[in-house]
C-alpha cells in the first residue's frame, strides 16, 4: 500500500508524476470515504432537522422504515470497510492474488468465509425484502419443516395433521415461537444485528486502538506510561461484568451496547500498534522517510499503520465473536435490548418451551455457534496467511 502500483519496475516509474502528486493530494480511498461519509452526515442532519420524530426518514420515497442512529453508524463503518478493506484488495491485485493463494489452502477458513459472506449479505438485504416477524397467536409452536409436534400445542396447524401430529411446512422452515413469530425471519433479522455489532465495534476498536498505540509509541515518556497503564487497567477489567453493571445502572438499547463494546475493547489493538510502531521506527525504510522530511503524521499514516494492519485485522477478527457472544449472553439474561430480535433474545425466548419445542432455542443457537466458529477459523487462517512465520496450521 506504500507505493501506488507495485507492478511497476524502478526504471518505469514516472518521477514527474510523483513529484506532482506529493503535497496535499488525497488518495481515491480517502476522497471516497470523505464524500460518502459527508453524504451520510447530510442525511443525519436532514433526519434530525427536517423530518419529524416519528416520521420515517425516507417517507418522501415511500419507504416506511425509520433509520436509527445505529443504522447511520453502520453505514459509516461499511463505507470505511469498503474503501479501506475491499478497495485496496482491488488496487493491489498482485498482493491479493498472493493472499488468496495462501488462504485457499485452508479449507475450513474458506468455508467460514463463505458462511460469513452469506450472513453478511442476507443480514443486510434480508430485512429489506422480508417483512418483520409478526405476532400470530393462532400459529404458535409450528414445527420446522420435516418435523412434527403433538397437535395440542399449535392452535392452527399450517401444515397437514397426520396421526394427531402437526407436520412442519416450508412456510415456516424453522418453525414459530410461542407468539407465532417465524423463527427463520427472526434469525435473518438477528444476522443484521450481529453484522452491525461486528462492523461498528471493529470501526471503534481500530480507530481508538491505532490512535492510542501510535500516540504512545511516538510521544513516549509520561504520555506513553499513562496510556499503557490505562491499557493494563482496561485489560484486567472483566468486560462482561462491566457491561452488566453499566446496563444495570443505565439500562439501554443496542446503540449504547455496541458503543460500549467498542469503547472497552481496544486495548489489544493499542498494544499491537504500539509495539509494532516501536519496532518499525528502527527499520531502515522509516529512517529513509524521516530523512526525506516526512512529518510524523505521514509516517504513521502511510507506513506504520499499513504495516501493522495484518496483526490488527487478525486481532479484530478474533474479537468480533467475543462481542457477538457477549450480546447473545446479555440478551439471554434479559438485559439486552428487548426491542431487537437478536439471536440471544430468541434463545432465551425458547428456554421455557424446551421440553416440547426445542427448535426455538436450537435454531438460533446453532447459527450463533456457526458464526462464532467461522470467525475463529477465519482469524486462524489470517494469522497463517498474513504472517508466514507463525505457521500454525496451513495444511488443514
Amino acid at each position: 500500500m506504500a507505493t501506488q502500483d507495485p507492478n511497476k519496475q524502478f526504471d518505469q516509474v514516472d518521477w514527474e508524476e510523483i513529484n506532482n502528486s506529493s503535497g496535499t493530494s488525497y488518495s481515491i480511498n480517502a476522497l471516497g470515504t470523505l464524500v460518502s461519509i459527508g453524504a451520510v452526515l447530510a442525511l443525519v442532519v436532514y433526519d434530525i432537522l427536517f423530518v419529524e420524530q416519528y416520521t420515517p426518514t425516507f417517507a418522501f420515497v415511500g419507504w416506511g422504515y425509520d433509520v436509527s442512529q445505529l443504522d447511520f453508524l453502520f453505514a459509516v463503518s461499511l463505507i470505511v470497510f469498503g474503501f479501506y478493506g475491499v478497495l485496496p484488495l482491488y488496487q493491489n491485485k498482485r498482493m491479493t492474488r498472493y493472499y488468496w493463494r495462501q488462504f485457499k489452502k485452508n479449507r475450513p477458513a474458506l468455508v467460514s468465509l463463505v458462511w460469513l459472506g452469506f450472513v453478511f449479505v442476507v443480514g443486510i438485504l434480508g430485512p429489506v425484502f422480508i417483512s418483520a416477524p409478526e405476532v400470530a397467536l393462532f400459529q404458535k409452536y409450528q414445527p420446522p419443516a420435516f418435523m412434527s409436534i403433538a397437535n395440542n400445542y399449535p392452535i392452527n396447524c399450517v401444515g397437514p395433521v397426520v396421526d394427531g401430529a402437526c407436520q412442519g411446512t416450508l412456510n415456516h422452515p424453522f418453525g414459530t415461537t410461542r407468539n407465532g413469530k417465524d423463527i427463520f425471519t427472526m434469525i435473518v433479522y438477528g444476522m443484521q444485528i450481529s453484522m452491525k455489532i461486528a462492523f461498528i465495534t471493529t470501526l471503534i476498536v481500530i480507530t481508538i486502538g491505532t490512535a492510542v498505540g501510535t500516540t504512545a509509541a511516538y510521544a513516549g515518556g509520561l504520555i506513553d506510561e499513562v496510556l499503557m497503564r490505562w491499557v493494563d487497567i482496561q485489560q484486567s477489567f472483566p468486560t462482561f461484568i462491566l457491561y452488566l453493571l453499566i446496563l444495570y445502572i443505565w439500562g439501554g438499547g443496542l446503540f449504547l451496547f455496541i458503543v460500549l463494546f467498542g469503547l472497552f475493547a481496544w486495548e489489544g489493538t493499542a498494544r499491537y500498534t504500539r509495539s509494532n510502531a516501536l519496532s518499525k521506527v528502527e527499520e531502515e525504510y522509516i529512517k529513509a522517510v524521516q530523512l526525506s522530511g516526512a512529518s510524523t503524521y505521514r509516517i504513521v499514516r502511510r507506513h506504520v499503520v499499513p504495516n501493522t494492519a495484518s496483526s490488527i485485522i487478525t486481532n479484530v477478527t478474533l474479537l468480533i465473536p467475543v462481542f457477538i457472544l457477549a450480546e447473545a449472553q446479555l440478551a439471554f439474561l434479559g438485559l439486552g435490548d428487548s426491542t431487537v430480535p437478536s439471536w440471544g433474545q430468541l434463545i432465551s425466548i425458547g428456554r421455557n418451551d424446551l421440553g416440547f419445542a426445542p427448535w426455538i432455542t436450537l435454531a438460533p443457537g446453532f447459527v450463533l455457534f456457526l458464526t462464532i466458529l467461522a470467525f475463529n477459523f477465519l482469524g486462524d487462517a489470517l494469522l497463517d496467511a498474513l504472517n508466514p512465520e507463525a505457521n500454525t496450521e496451513s495444511e488443514g
Binding site: R229, D232, I233, Q235, S236, F237, P238, T239, F240, I241, L242, L244, L245, I246, Y248, I249, W250, P321, L325, A326, A328, Q329, F332, L333, G334, L335, I347, R351, L354, G355, P358, T361, L362, G365, L368, F369, I372, L373, N376, F377, A390, T392, E393, E395
Partner: protein, 324 residues
C-alpha cells in the same frame, strides 16, 4: 532491581487497579439517577403525597445531599473495609450473601480449574507429538468446537438431552445434598463439562503451537540422539518451555470464563452461586448486591492477573526485570 522489587511493584499496581475500578463504579453510580430516590417519589405520588418532598427525604436518608467528595471518600473507605451494605431482598449483609453463594460457586470452580490445568496442556502436547495425524485433527476440532460453542447454549442442549430426554441428571439443582456425595457429583458433572470444554480449547491451541516449535528443535534432536526416552523428552524438554506462554493463556481463559460464562452456566443449571446472585439482584433491582458481586468479580480478575504476571516471571528465568 531483582524479581522481588518487580513483584512488589506489580502488587502495588494491582492495588491501584482495584482503586481505579472502585472509583469508576462510584462515578457510574452517582451519575445515574438513584432508583431508591425515584421509587420514594413515585410512591409518594401514588399515595397522594408530595413527590418532591419525598425525593428530598430519600436523598437525605441515603446521604445524597452531602458534597460529592465526602460521599466518594465514604464509599471508597466502606468498600475497602468490606462494609458493602445491606441486601434488602435477601435480608442479610451483602458480604454474607456473597459468602453463601461462593460456597456453591467453589464446588464447581475447583474441579473445573483442576481439570483445565491438567487436560489443556496435555492434549496440546499430544497434538504436537502427533502433528497432522488424525488424532491431531480430532483434538484441534474438539478445541475449536469447545472454544466456539456458546457455553450457555451448550449447557441448554446438554440439559435437554441428558436431563429432559434421558433423565440421567436432575433438571433442578438440589442444594440439600452434601458436597462430597454421588448426587452432587452427578448434578455438577454437566456444568463442569461445559466449562471445561469452553476453557480447554484456547489452551490446547496455544500449547500445541508452542510445543510444535520445540518438537523439532535442536535440543530435542540431541536428546533423541542420546537415546532419552520419549516420555522424558516430552515431559522434561518440551513441556517446560511450553508452559510459560500456556500459563498466561490458562489464567486469562479461566478468568474470562469465570467472569462471564460461569455466570450464565449457573443461571442455566440453577446453581445458586455468585452468578445467580448477581442475576437475581439485577432482576430485583438490589443495587448493593449488584455492586458487591460486581466488585467481587473485578477483584478476582485483578488478583488473577497479578498471579498470571508473577507466575510468568517465576516460570521464565530469561525475563529481564531491569526494563520493567
Amino acid at each position: 532491581m531483582g524479581m522481588g522489587w518487580y513483584v512488589v511493584r506489580r502488587v502495588v499496581f494491582a492495588f491501584f487497579v482495584t482503586f481505579t475500578i472502585v472509583s469508576i463504579t462510584w462515578g457510574l453510580l452517582s451519575a445515574a439517577p438513584n432508583p431508591e430516590v425515584r421509587q420514594a417519589s413515585t410512591q409518594a405520588a401514588l399515595e397522594g403525597g408530595n413527590p418532591a418532598e419525598a425525593r428530598e427525604n430519600a436523598r437525605q436518608r441515603l446521604g445524597l445531599d452531602r458534597p460529592a467528595w465526602e460521599r466518594y471518600v465514604d464509599y471508597v473507605v466502606s468498600i475497602y473495609t468490606l462494609e458493602w451494605g445491606w441486601s434488602d431482598t435477601r435480608s442479610q449483609p451483602v458480604t454474607d450473601a456473597i459468602a453463601n453463594s461462593l460456597y456453591y460457586t467453589v464446588q464447581y470452580s475447583v474441579p473445573w480449574t483442576i481439570l483445565t490445568v491438567l487436560i489443556g496442556p496435555l492434549v496440546g502436547l499430544y497434538s504436537a507429538a502427533n502433528q497432522y495425524s488424525w488424532r491431531d485433527h480430532v483434538a484441534t476440532g474438539f478445541a475449536f468446537f469447545g472454544y466456539a460453542i456458546p457455553n450457555f447454549f451448550f449447557g441448554i442442549v446438554l440439559l435437554l438431552v441428558f436431563g429432559v430426554e434421558l433423565g440421567w441428571i436432575p433438571v433442578i439443582y438440589n442444594t440439600q445434598v452434601p458436597v462430597f456425595s454421588v448426587e452432587n457429583i452427578i448434578q455438577l458433572t454437566i456444568p463442569i463439562f461445559v466449562l471445561v470444554t469452553g476453557s480447554v480449547g484456547g489452551i490446547t491451541r496455544v500449547a500445541r503451537n508452542e510445543a510444535a516449535e520445540y518438537v523439532n528443535s535442536d535440543f530435542v534432536k540431541t536428546a533423541r540422539a542420546k537415546g532419552v526416552s520419549v516420555y522424558r523428552i516430552y515431559f522434561q524438554h518440551v513441556l517446560r518451555p511450553t508452559l510459560v506462554p500456556v500459563s498466561t493463556t490458562l489464567v486469562s481463559q479461566l478468568l474470562a470464563l469465570f467472569t462471564g460464562a460461569s455466570l450464565l452456566v449457573e443461571v442455566v443449571f440453577g446453581i445458586p452461586g455468585l452468578g445467580r446472585l448477581l442475576y437475581n439482584a439485577v432482576l430485583s433491582q438490589d443495587t448493593s448486591v449488584v455492586l458487591g458481586t460486581t466488585l467481587f468479580f473485578t477483584f478476582v480478575a485483578t488478583i488473577g492477573n497479578l498471579i498470571q504476571d508473577i507466575t510468568y516471571t517465576v516460570l521464565d528465568p530469561r525475563i529481564d526485570f531491569s526494563e520493567r
